[in-house]
Symmetry: C2
Subunit: 340 residues, 2 copies
DNA sequence: CTGAAAGCGCTTACAG
DNA sequence: CTGAAAGCGCTTACAG
């Protein structure tokens, strides 16, 4: 593997001049540049990024920590990679498996200067862990659970959008609306926030809040949704609408209702949240909330890139003061499952 | 940011001893080790990975180049990240967008020693590009299109599994089986290979091969599948079975048939390929081919890790001679769409 | 069991 | 427009 020294020798110039050519610095005579380029081609020279990183103190790579690279997070990751590319940044993906421990691990790993910054999708960490976000490199939180922390935050309008989804069911004539959600906690997680929006909508409409209608499943998977929907029908639960806190679990709910012989939307109307790709093509197609994923991704990367630039100029990562909280826009997508 | 020198000074030892502690080398007295660990904790020391990489000549990171991180490739990426972790390797994902150019870009980028090796999912490159795979670092090809190349290769049993899928439809009584596939080429791409399996099955069963039944769409998306299925019915095409070359396009086909009022499986039976997560929960649930993704991922990473180790020992990446070609196993998953 | 020193391959003030 | 040299922060033969 040829080094910059080899090229310098072959071209009859100094290493610095080779470096100048590589980095497109202006002060190189055309003739010199060409000599160097020829030597580089001849020796099949490739810059050693590890050496450059060490010298520059940055790697040009950001970390993206998500629970997994599937479904919703796959879509998000795709958007983030695209946005990072526009900033000339590479993305390295870490899977956290939604565990608090792994999320914290990622935080201390990245400190190793492997990444110039980190986009962390918090699912396991709670607001009690806010202090641990005070690391000495740029971090952007993407998701719920941590608000008012020491770093930039990009989130969805969970409460408002859930309110709108539930209201949509009410407007379609539903009077007994079930909620299928994950475990409800005191934390500001996805399920709890969307539950709040659901409750608010019922309240605004003057509908009674029957605890039996709140169907919490352990994990928001298709399988869990299918199982729970069947149980709801078998147990004789009286309901004519379902707000599912994710499209993924809604796919299962639609399946479970079909298994139980309940026609959607005739007898029960269903709405989800996320607008994953398949929602449009299910039978019946799934009404849902469409948060602006691309904008969230773009924003998260922009914020991080800004932090990286500033911390480079200052030599320090600042905390507190000027942090940003961005909430994306959303729309209600009306399809067959709510009787479009 | 504390360096190893700072720690050495604080602990009253040499940098080398600190290094020995960090890397768990045996020859350190317990008392010394503890002094060093205490100093590390006090200074909040984190190893500088860039420096270590430069010194070691490797990064502990492998590249994974896939068209996108969604659907099928998301699942694969998840499995690969898990497998790499077992080898102590980090994974950096590059999106190629299925273009030949980007795939070639990734090949030359990684040469920059950013990655210790590369898993490349070829979708755009063709067999004409085989020579370009002769790079001086370990590469494993994951996918079709390039067989007999200079590097290890992990593939699916496309022809055999497609044969089995089609035979399943025949056994269910289908006599006019349509194929929904991508563009058919002379290359060994997914569509062409699966088309071959389809044709073989028809041949074995003594069924006529009607070119009208081969429905090639530009891109294998849900939308394209839905549109094409509707057109097939509207155009009065006579068919009682459909083999879709991917589950993704099959989701669309099921939707399109529903739009056209064609009951599945009563009038038309449908089978896909890939066994993506949602296939089980569609209405009707989708019969499909389940290739062993986890095994493919595991195998690809094992092969790459082996190459990395050997090229480290030899200081050279060998080509040709001992390359491996691994074909995964598969099973036919029978569900409602073929009238289970 | 521990240390002094070289060197991995770059980039960048500083000179000229 | 070009060069000599220092230094980024590690690891590792080589000594002792």
């Amino acid at each position: 593997m040829a080094t910059i020294q080899d090229v310098a020798k072959a071209a009859g110039v100094s290493a610095m001049t080779v470096s100048n050519v590589i980095n497109d610095h202006p002060n190189v005579r055309t003739a010199t540049r060409e000599k160097v380029l020829a030597a580089m081609a001849r020796l099949d020279y490739r810059v050693n990024v590890a050496a450059r990183n060490l010298r520059k103190g940055r790697t040009g790579t950001i970390g993206l920590a998500v629970p997994e690279v599937n479904g919703y997070y796959g879509r998000l990751a795709t958007a983030i990679i695209a946005a990072a590319e526009r900033h000339g940044l590479r993305v390295s993906i870490e899977q956290t498996g939604a565990s608090r421990e792994n999320e914290l691990d990622v935080l201390s790993m990245s400190r190793n200067r492997l990444y110039d910054g980190l986009i962390l999708s918090t699912v396991g960490m709670g607001s009690a862990d806010v202090e641990l976000l005070k690391v000495d490199y740029p971090v952007v939180i993407l998701g719920e659970r941590i608000f008012g922390g020491p770093v930039d935050h990009v989130a969805m309008p969970n409460v408002e959008a859930s309110h709108a989804a539930t209201r949509h069911l009410i407007e379609r004539g539903c009077r007994r609306i079930a909620l299928v959600c994950g475990p409800l906690t005191d934390e500001v997680d996805v399920s709890s926030l969307r539950f709040t929006g659901y409750r608010q909508a019922l309240l605004s409409a003057g509908q009674p809040q029957d605890p039996e209608l709140v169907q919490s499943v352990e994990r928001l998977t298709m399988r869990a949704g299918a199982l729970r929907a069947r149980q709801m029908v078998e147990n004789g639960l009286d309901f004519d609408g379902v707000f599912c806190v994710t499209d993924t679990v809604a796919v299962g709910v639609l399946r479970g209702l079909a298994d139980a012989g309940v026609p959607v939307p005739e007898r029960v109307k269903v709405i989800g949240f996320d607008n994953i790709e398949e929602s449009e093509f299910l039978v019946p197609s799934l009404s849902t909330i469409d948060p602006d994923h691309d904008m969230m991704a773009q924003r998260a990367v922009d914020l991080l890139a800004g932090r990286i630039e500033r911390s480079e100029r200052n030599g320090r990562t600042e905390h507190g003061a000027d942090r940003e909280e961005f909430v994306s826009s959303y729309s209600v997508v009306i399809r067959e499952s709510t009787g479009s």
